[in-house]
């Protein structure tokens, strides 16, 4: 082969390889779903639906009611987002619109550090430091409660929430701010009546992405929520132990026999989690794609 031929051949080979690698992510998502289905689908044949959507999860007695786990996840996540949302949006606005440079130089790396702290370390901190505080201040028998979990989870959701919300604020054209100020509004009024509304869809994306993270968080939640699979029906169940879907999988998978009904049921919960986060991310990303097409001078 002459030199030119070799160059052409390399070009072709490399391009094919890169194409394959480019498409591989789609393959991985499909593969993950496939293997969850393969191991988890039998659940729906082995366990009657009435049992599966029942209110009691006691695998030793063949009770596989996933409702308390789903509600447990929902409660911890919603409470975490209720804490994280105001804090995160306020911090994003502060960092992007108000903070002096030196404060920004400190805040942004700190938030990155928070994103990097392993969840097991936060869980450990929650167990040994936060839980005793919660127990003492409530006078409750245990500090391992849904509230404790939500508190830790809120901080784990903050880095995603803040950075995506900040990007959204950043994408608001400067002319919007100038127009607000030129109308005689103060900077404060401009922020809340012009800039934040203009960044609304991006902020919604931020909330959804961080909520997806919160639902899927495992170790910290498992370590601080006490893991009692009971229905969280009243308001004071916020201050009682609760058990999430993720914690159930992590805690029980090690002990079940492969191929047993219990084993399949844990994969079944995995399918629910996969679909839930898939839908959340799909919805969140549709606003990302929309945002790309929005015009406006910067």
């Amino acid at each position: 082969m002459d030199r030119l031929g070799r160059v052409r051949w390399t070009e072709f080979a490399v391009e094919t390889l890169i194409r394959v690698l480019g498409f591989s992510t789609i393959g991985f998502v499909a593969l993950i779903f496939l293997f969850l289905l393969q191991q988890g689908l039998p659940t729906f044949f082995e366990i009657p639906l009435g049992n599966l959507f029942g209110t009691r999860w006691y695998p030793t007695f063949d009770l596989f009611g996933t409702l308390p786990l789903v509600l447990g996840s929902a409660m911890v996540t919603i409470l975490a987002m209720a804490i994280a949302l105001p804090l995160g949006v306020a911090t994003a606005v502060f960092v992007r619109e108000v903070a002096p440079d030196w404060a920004r130089e400190i805040l942004k790396p700190m938030i990155e550090v928070l994103a990097g702290i392993p969840s097991v370390v936060l869980g450990f901190f929650g167990m040994t430091v936060i839980a005793p505080l919660v127990r003492e201040s409530l006078g409750a028998p245990t500090g391992l409660t849904a509230f404790t979990g939500a508190l830790i989870l809120a901080y784990m959701a903050l880095p995603t929430l803040i950075s995506v919300a900040e990007d959204a604020l950043d994408a608001v054209p400067k002319s919007y701010r100038d127009a607000g100020l030129a109308m005689g509004a103060t900077q404060w009024q401009t922020i809340w009546q012009v800039v934040v509304p203009a960044a609304r869809s991006g902020i919604v994306t931020a909330v959804m992405l961080s909520m997806g993270r919160a639902i899927g968080e495992t170790m910290a939640v498992m370590m601080v929520t006490g893991n009692a699979a009971r229905m969280p029906l009243s308001l004071d169940s916020l201050f009682r132990p609760v058990r999430t879907m993720t914690a159930t999988i992590a805690a029980e998978m090690g002990e079940v026999a492969q191929g047993s009904t219990h084993y399949h049921a844990l994969f079944g919960i995995g399918i629910i989690l996969f679909l839930l986060t898939f839908i959340i991310n799909l919805t969140a990303s549709s606003t990302i794609f929309k945002k790309r097409h929005r015009g406006g001078l910067r």
Partner: protein, 281 residues
Amino acid sequence: MNRHLVQRLGFAMLGLAALVVVVPILLVIGTIVARGMGAISWEFLSAMPREGMKAGGILPAIVGTLLLTVGTALAAIPVAVGGAIYLAEYARDTWLTRAIRLAIINLAGIPSVVYGLFGLGLFVLFLQFGTSILAGSLTLAIMTLPIIISTAEEALRAVPVEFRTVSASLGGTRWQGIRNIILPQALPGIITGVILGLLRAAGETAPILFTVAAFFLPHLPRTVLDQTMTLPYHLYVISTQVPGMPPQIQYGTALVLLGLVLSLNVVATIIRSYYRRRRQW
């Protein structure tokens, strides 16, 4: 009320919110450093655990985490960088490209414990790697892909289009341009992304629960098909599964893990800011 006073109060509230976010981070790090420092000694870092892990060191957990991180890097870097090159240099805005971006967003959002289930199903059982470093590294690698791909793609896109035109005008093919000009220019950014992805992998527990992690092993792993102890799983074990564990050892382990992850974080930040300042375009 005077609207300028409202603004002052409002800004103060925003600053307060930022403080409420930052102070607990410092508290977590400060507490773990203060309570864990006392446990750190040469023996703690270099000896095997003794007396039911209540004494001795955590060497096998440190070695295990390092091995897993290297394994993850070997598996993830080629795929992720290739994927990023495709998105930045080859892909056009078609529905397929959008599907890839959706897949990346979804990979980033899949719960870590679901990665654990997947690794168990594919690598441990179907491919029969068993609970092993190989199975764990591959599971972590897939989890790390979205982080590395997005950072690397951004780094590639930041290289000005003129670099590509000049390369082409000198008769270079597309790949020659990428290999000799664009990749070297984007390298610091790509390395930053790789480090950020790997530090996430090094700290993860849930994906390795059923794919590699060993409760206790009296020896270091010998092959990639061995199980291994790891730092995050070890911290989980000694803080929840072993009663009567001396707190100092727990905090010491937490400190070693936190130190490893944060120092990687600092390295990534330094590389990024150093090259950002040095860059000539």
